[in-house]
């Protein structure tokens, strides 16, 4: 493999991995902040225990998200320096502002939340968690604005004054209010809530069932903890799924205007159709990347509706689009050393069909699975019921992974779907003024394949080990549940014990020491 391919694998692996942690951080952070708020408002023991239990899982996951996020900021320079030079005028400033306005907020206040139990007034302590969570959300906005600018560059002009073409920023607000970014951000945030909701449902049901089988009383606080987790998680998941569908539809329609090839590849729609049909299942030679070899089961009219909100408009096919792009941007890469091995080679404007087609379906399918599980959990726990069905409970536990897979599949679809461009030309701009950049010219010149292999292997192995440990830790905490040390509220400065009017006296083994030690230092 050449440097370009290794660097792409590295970027893909590190970014998809990072994005396993990110949605859990965002979604669970929001839910833990709500739980903590409920405890401060009501003083009920179950809300405190929920805050502590889910907060701990949130933290185990948070730190790996932060640690792997560091890599992102460096690797644009390390492996993609030609890209960084080309887009520096706009892309770098978005990243820097993310660090200044969001990341500081997140890290500083999370430290205060972790160590603030009992040290700072209760409401201030709660506010510090909210500040950290808001920081995560703002951070997500800036990063998605940066990504969306690559998908749909706005607010820039092409500057050739220095001899080499560069993107030059002319309208910062346009970059921040890019409609691509607004759609992608709202989609990603609600998808994060599905991740968190699914986790609450899966683990909550497992504990409810275990307690029921062991004959534990449903009067205990812990029963309330798990029941409420399942109910909250279920409602959040279902509501989020509805919003995921709405925002996804918005994104899809934008994509048909901005990156028609990506959407048509997602459908393996070879020839322009009016009205166009939606493909349910493809068979035969999707892997050959020859669109005409693909056959699929389709539902008439639906694709026209998804693209244009009516049942008759034409939707362009992959073959026609490939020709249009080849005409506009060249049938072959320029014969220039900056294109490396690709110089002079023909350009395939069609993304890898198997990835876009199945990535798109996997994303939607996994979201639907998760929503189905949430509906089951709400039904099975209606009016105080406790489900003991092995299939139902373990199925829900397994389905915790579904929204993670769905998130990853969605990103892989959208990132691989814009190839061969790393900065996709904006069709609203006249061809001569368009700012665009091929992935093939983005990689750092002068770094060796051995260097990129070294980083790919060392980061890959490290990430693998850390994934195993993180998974093990989360499973262990999740199994142990809330009873190990979370049963007493930590004495707080702002009058700690008034909330002990819960339903259970403090037990001998649950002095706050273990608790704080495990939770923080």
């Amino acid at each position: 493999m050449d440097v370009l391919e290794i660097a792409r694998w590295q970027f893909g692996i590190t970014t998809v991995y990072h994005f396993l942690m990110v949605p859990l951080t965002i979604g669970l952070g929001l839910l833990v902040a709500v739980m903590h708020t409920m405890w401060v408002r009501t003083g009920k023991a179950e809300w405190l225990r929920m805050t502590r239990f889910w907060g701990r899982i949130y933290l185990i996951n948070f730190v790996l998200g932060v640690a792997t996020g560091l890599v992102q900021e460096f690797q644009f320079g390390l492996a993609w320096s030609s890209y960084s030079r080309f887009v520096g005028d706009v892309f770098g400033s978005v990243l820097a502002l993310e660090a200044l306005l969001a990341f500081f907020l997140e890290s500083t206040f999370l430290g205060l939340w972790i160590f603030g139990w009992g040290r700072i007034p209760k409401k201030l302590h709660l506010a510090s968690l909210w500040a950290a969570v808001v920081g995560s959300v703002i951070s997500a906005y800036f990063i998605i604005a940066a990504n969306s600018w690559m998908q749909h560059p706005v607010g820039v002009v092409l500057d050739t004054s220095s001899g080499e073409p560069r993107a030059r920023q002319v309208d910062f607000l346009a970059v921040l209010t890019n409609n691509t970014a607004l759609a992608a951000f709202s989609h990603a945030i609600v998808a994060s809530l599905m991740v968190a909701g699914g986790l609450l449902v899966g683990i909550g049901l497992w504990h409810l069932r275990k307690r029921a089988l062991a004959g534990r009383s449903t009067e205990e606080v812990d029963h309330q903890v798990w029941r409420r987790s399942v109910r909250v998680g279920g409602y959040v998941s279902l509501a989020a799924f509805a919003l995921v569908a709405l925002t996804g539809d918005w994104q899809g329609k934008l994509m048909y205007q901005q990156q028609p090839l990506k959407m048509s590849s997602a459908e393996a729609l070879c020839e322009t159709e009016a009205p166009a049909s939606f493909s349910i299942f493809a068979f035969n030679k999707l892997g050959s990347n020859e669109c005409d070899d693909v056959h699929s089961f389709t539902v008439p009219y639906i694709l026209s509706f998804l693209a244009h909100s009516d049942f008759s408009s034409p939707v362009p096919g992959v073959n026609d689009l490939q020709e249009q792009y080849a005409e506009a941007y060249g049938a072959t890469y320029p014969d220039d050393p900056s294109f490396g091995d690709k110089a002079g080679e023909p350009i395939d404007y069609t993304p890898v069909l198997a990835v876009t087609y199945w990535g798109f379906r996997l994303m939607i399918g996994m979201g639907a699975v998760s929503a189905g599980v949430a509906a089951y959990a709400l039904w099975a726990t209606r009016r105080g019921r406790v489900p003991t069905s092995t299939v139902g409970v373990y199925g829900s536990l397994l389905a915790v992974g579904a929204p993670f897979v769905g998130n990853a599949a969605g990103w892989i679809f959208t990132e691989m779907g814009r190839q061969p461009f790393v900065v996709y030309p904006n069709p609203d701009v006249p061809r001569a003024d368009q700012v665009y950049f091929f992935t093939a010219q983005a990689v750092s010149p002068g770094i060796s394949a051995a260097e990129v292999w070294t980083s790919l292997i060392s980061l890959g192995v490290l990430y693998g080990v850390l994934a195993v440990i993180e998974f093990g830790l989360i499973v262990r905490f999740a199994r142990a549940g809330v009873t190990e040390g979370d049963t007493t509220p930590t004495p707080g400065i702002g009058g700690g014990s008034s909330h002990r009017d819960g339903d259970e006296p403090p037990r001998a083994d649950d002095d706050a020491s273990d608790d704080v030690l495990q939770f923080a230092y």
């Binding site: 560091l70 900021e73 644009f76 390390l78 960084s84 820097a96 500083t108 770094i447 440990i469 020491s513």
Partner: protein, 341 residues
């Protein structure tokens, strides 16, 4: 001052601020096997930096982000030229970050000891690697005409990189010891102070040498003064430590770094990355910078955002300002005896 100069100053301040803040948590982590003889000592040492290291690390993220944002030509030349050292830095930072949080996940002593060693190792690698990168970007890298490194993967692993690595390691280690003497009480406080006192004269040499070398290449009268201030601050640090005034010693040792970095960046300006092949290939503030429009936007955002960030970060330092004392490992940390600073 034009915007490019302003942002050069801002980037220099961010890198220096990062070294100043993360320096003490790097130092405390490096000293865990040296000063943390008993588990209780190590536990106490980690508690001094526990609430602060993550906030400190954001200074690095912001420094790198601002380098990219204001000077993409610098970022895109420097990072690939030091590819492997930066990868090592990332590995070090990742393992250290997870170790800080994950070591509490079990009461098993071996688990705890393993992660404590990971914190030390990761911190050493990260501080040495970042020192190497900073040494190289101020003293020179083999950069060719097109801004691309010449001579292969290890051509950047030269004496400037080594000097930078040693300078940051040595300065941070003493910084960590002085910090511990300031933040703890009891036996550890005295051992940390004695350790710092012994090391101050030696540990100051590499960072002063780094500053002096940049000054020799392109120093000015002003940076001659800052270099002298740095050297003077070493003497003050030693004297204040000997007098048992940890707060003043901490300030003086911080001044060693601040004045040294002022010398380094002040002398290097307007070169952000000198080429060891030909001065004509130097990366300059003017050639590496983004457009004035982008700099203007960032200036406005930073003018409003930065004071807020500095305010709340200073406030968290205030919240966690107490001296900490050792306690047996599995006892009530919430009720620790807190001695006012």
């Amino acid at each position: 001052m034009d915007l490019q100069t302003l942002w050069f100053v801002a980037v220099a301040v961010l890198w220096t601020g990062f070294l100043l803040l993360e320096g003490f948590d790097f130092g405390v982590a490096a000293l865990l096997p040296v000063l943390g003889r008993k588990p209780a000592d190590r536990h106490l040492m980690l508690r001094t930096i526990g609430p602060l290291w993550d906030g400190n690390e954001v200074w690095l993220v912001t420094a790198v982000g601002a380098t990219f944002a204001a000077f993409p030509g610098w970022y895109a030349t420097w990072l690939p030229a030091m590819y492997l050292p930066f990868v090592l830095v990332l590995v070090g930072l990742i393992v250290r970050a997870v170790a800080f949080e994950w070591r509490h996940s079990s009461h098993d002593e071996r688990w705890d000891a393993t992660w404590t060693r990971v914190i030390t190792t990761g911190s050493l690698i990260a501080s040495a690697g970042l020192g190497a990168a900073l040494g190289a970007t101020t003293l020179g890298l083999p950069i060719g005409a097109d801004g691309v490194r010449v001579g292969g993967a290890f051509s950047g692993w030269s004496w400037p990189a080594l000097l930078g690595a040693v300078a940051v390691l040595a300065w941070s280690t003493v910084h960590g010891a002085v910090f511990l003497s300031l933040k703890t009480d009891g036996e550890l406080r005295h051992r940390a102070r004695a350790f710092a006192l012994r090391l101050v004269p030696v540990a100051a040499l590499p960072v002063l040498a780094w500053a002096a070398l940049v000054w020799l290449r392109s120093g000015t009268v002003v940076t001659a003064v800052t270099l002298l201030v740095a050297a003077g601050a070493v003497v003050v640090t030693w004297a204040r430590l000997a007098a048992g005034r940890e707060g003043q010693a901490f300030t003086a040792w911080a001044m060693v770094l601040l004045a040294s970095m002022a010398t380094v960046f002040g002398s290097a300006f307007p070169v952000v990355l000198p080429s060891t092949i030909d001065p004509a290939f130097d990366v300059l503030v003017s050639t590496a910078s983004v457009s004035d429009y982008t700099l203007t936007v960032m200036t406005w955002v930073a003018a409003f955002g930065l004071p807020v960030v500095l305010g709340y970060q200073a406030w968290t330092y205030w919240v966690f300002r107490q001296r900490l004392v050792a306690e047996p490992v599995h006892e009530e940390p919430a009720d620790e005896e807190e001695v006012p600073a």
